[in-house]
Amino acid sequence: MPTLTLVQAVNDALKTAMRNDDSVVVFGEDVGPKGGVFLATEGLTSEFGEQRCFDTPLSEDGIVGTAVGMAMNGLRPVAEIQFQDFIFPAFDQIVSEAAKLRYRSGGQYTAPMVVRTPYGGGIRGGLYHSQSGEAYFCHTPGLKVVIPSTPADAKGLLIASIEDPDPVLFLEPKALYRAVKAEVPEGHYTTPLSTLRTVRKGTDVTVFCYGAMVPVCEKAAEQAAASGTECAIVDLRTLLPLDEEGVLEAAKQTGRVVVVHEAPRFCGFGAEISALIAENAIEYMEAPIARVTGFDTPFPNTLEHHYMPDHRRVLDAIEHVAAY
């Protein structure tokens, strides 16, 4: 089995999907001959031609708007937004159009499409190359929101997203693009959406996380284990529609919960996890639910390593919850 970085796994997924289905097209800014600013689309134009992987004018609204029309007329568009921070001109097309099309047309028209975009901090990108905007989109019925944290999941989840009958926002943790190499199965396979991944088993505290926070939580869990606290780590993988049963089951197993994300705290995805558990499993809780998140500020630049939750802040929350 080959070992790939996460961004190479994305590239492998795109090639696999395009070989499998002629209706899959990939487009966005600089995705053609250049292969994308992170090289996620490297080699696609040369293999599949410029009718299937191509550059667009510099307009996120146009990229996603035309993707909706392509999807309505038989293509499987995979649109790239260069950084998630630049997605907001396309917010209307994602929220008002792609996500609502099936519902508003009574199922007559659908938008099977994927919007891929790198998100998150850790690359010294400042306010506008670092944000985690997942919560905006998770408030949008009709949309699916998927975030991988490993190369194998990046490939399996992306192929599943491209084959899904509904629009998917696929958020790629850019901090992990080249952080690790891991084994990725060759050829076509899918990782089902709306399923959790148990990263680590443990009986004392359950840590919920996703994307670039997964390795941070793993490091914190290793340190906690050294002092006798065994953490379960759950990678949510699909935020919408969420595997709510899986979250509740994992929370009940330990009765002590920490939720970690790098997005701001207020109305962040951790609030939904916390409320879900409080509403459905509060009688199992041995301690208040803790959230470790980014600050409720714009994303900083020079102090980004303090803004993003690190293993020390996660460990502090684990210890606090375990000792309660």
């Binding site: 097209v25 009718q51 667009t56 004018p57 307009s59 609204d61 146009g62 708007g65 035309t66 993707a67 909706v68 029309g69 392509m70 999807a71 309505m72 007329n73 038989g74 293509l75 568009p77 001109p89 209307d92 097309q93 008002s96 159009e97 609502k100 099936r102 519902y103 508003r104 047309s105 009574g106 199922g107 007559q108 028209y109 659908t110 019925p141 009709g142 699916k144 009958p165 509904d166 709306s194 529609p241 969420l242 709510e244 049963e245």
Partner: protein, 366 residues
């Protein structure tokens, strides 16, 4: 500005040489639009339908232009193209069901009134957001071209939409991709209460095409033959792979933006009566009578027939069954996900206790 008929119905350009049957069809389609609008306004005032955005005064723009589209072509609509959908195959019963937003509506009553769709004739509904359908039409036209098919995409919007993101990105992408599309701007002079002078500093909306490498043409929108001719040329150009065009059909919205709007607050009666003298149906009627295709006074009997047909359909739609409650959570995704099943089940338990559920409304299996 392209024109075939003067206001008095005389020819001022080359005779398009349409058959008498074709000429009469165009008149009937325009009359149907006006008659349907008239009935819908009555129903709105009677509290039977919630909202009407009429096409009174605009009939030539939508009938003339859409008549140049073939069965495999697409029509990407805005608020006022419902009459074109009727001409292209939307059954009148579905039109009225959509106005009632009832259980016979193909959109399952989920959109407010005046948001028609007809998949069989490639007519998706608009969303209500202005201009968002423009890049959809461009993307769909890209798909058509990529597969080597020869359908053309007519993309409709109003003058106000020329200020939207969708207009800019749609026109720009269409120009760069050279897709088979025709942009149809129905310029009725007013975006609700905002006149064109407050919408753009361009002399004409057609000038905007220059920036995108898309040729723009102004057409007399109250002249059905001019609309048909200009659209026919643009459609053939697109079908031949020569690229997109922008047509600006200049017309006037005789009534308010919608049944909720009082236009006397923002525009002069003199302006309205000047445009009333240019009525598109009267102009075409004069032409047909002079040509001997229509008898003097025949219009009244055509209208009576249309109204009888419409009234019969309205009567049927009054008897629509109640909306199944499960449509609350269906069609959000291809399959109803577990969280929506749970939300529905909690809701239906309360509805059942209050005796509001019908057979078939019961809980989803979990």
């Amino acid at each position: 500005m392209e024109r075939v008929l003067a206001t008095d119905g005389t020819l001022v350009a080359e005779d398009p040489a349409l058959s008498p049957e074709r000429l009469r069809e165009l008149l009937e389609h325009m009359l149907r639009v006006r008659c349907v609008d008239e009935r819908m306004l009555k129903l709105q005032r009677a509290g039977r339908v919630g909202f009407v955005g009429t096409a009174k005064g605009l009939e030539a723009t939508l009938i003339g232009s859409a008549a140049a589209l073939g069965g495999r072509d697409w029509l990407w609509s805005g608020l006022r193209e419902g009459g074109a959908a009727l001409m292209r195959g939307l059954p009148l019963a579905e039109y009225v069901a959509q106005m009632y937003c009832n259980a016979n509506d193909t959109a399952k009553g989920r959109q407010m009134c005046n948001h028609f769709q007809h998949k069989g004739s490639h007519y998706p509904s608009w969303s209500s957001c202005i201009g968002t359908q423009i890049p959809h039409g461009v993307g769909a036209a890209f798909a058509t071209k990529q597969r080597g098919e020869d359908a053309v995409h007519g993309i409709y919007f109003g003058d106000g939409a020329t200020s939207s993101n969708g207009f800019h990105s749609g026109m720009n992408f269409a120009g760069v991709w050279n897709v088979p599309a025709v942009f149809v701007c129905v310029d009725n002079g007013w975006a609700i209460s905002v006149p064109s002078s407050a919408q753009t500093a361009s002399e004409s909306y057609a000038d905007k095409g220059v920036a995108y490498g898309v040729p723009g043409t102004e057409v007399d929108g109250n002249d059905v033959l001019a609309c048909l001719g200009a659209m026919g040329a643009a459609v053939e150009r697109a079908r031949a792979g020569e690229g997109p065009s922008l047509l600006v059909l200049r017309t006037y919205r005789m009534l308010g933006h919608s049944s909720s709007d009082d236009p006397s607050k923002y525009r002069d009666d003199a302006e309205v009566s000047a445009w009333a003298a240019r009525d598109p149906i009267e102009r075409f009627e004069r032409f047909l009578v002079a040509r001997g295709v229509l008898a003097e006074g025949e219009r009244a009997s055509l209208e009576a027939e249309l109204l009888a047909e419409i009234d019969a359909v309205i009567h049927e739609q009054e008897a629509a069954p109640p909306m199944p409650l499960k449509t609350l959570v269906e069609d959000v995704y291809a399959e109803v996900p577990r969280h929506l099943r749970r939300q529905y089940n909690a809701f239906i338990a309360v509805a059942e206790r209050h005796g509001e559920a019908q057979p078939g409304d019961g809980a989803f299996p979990l």
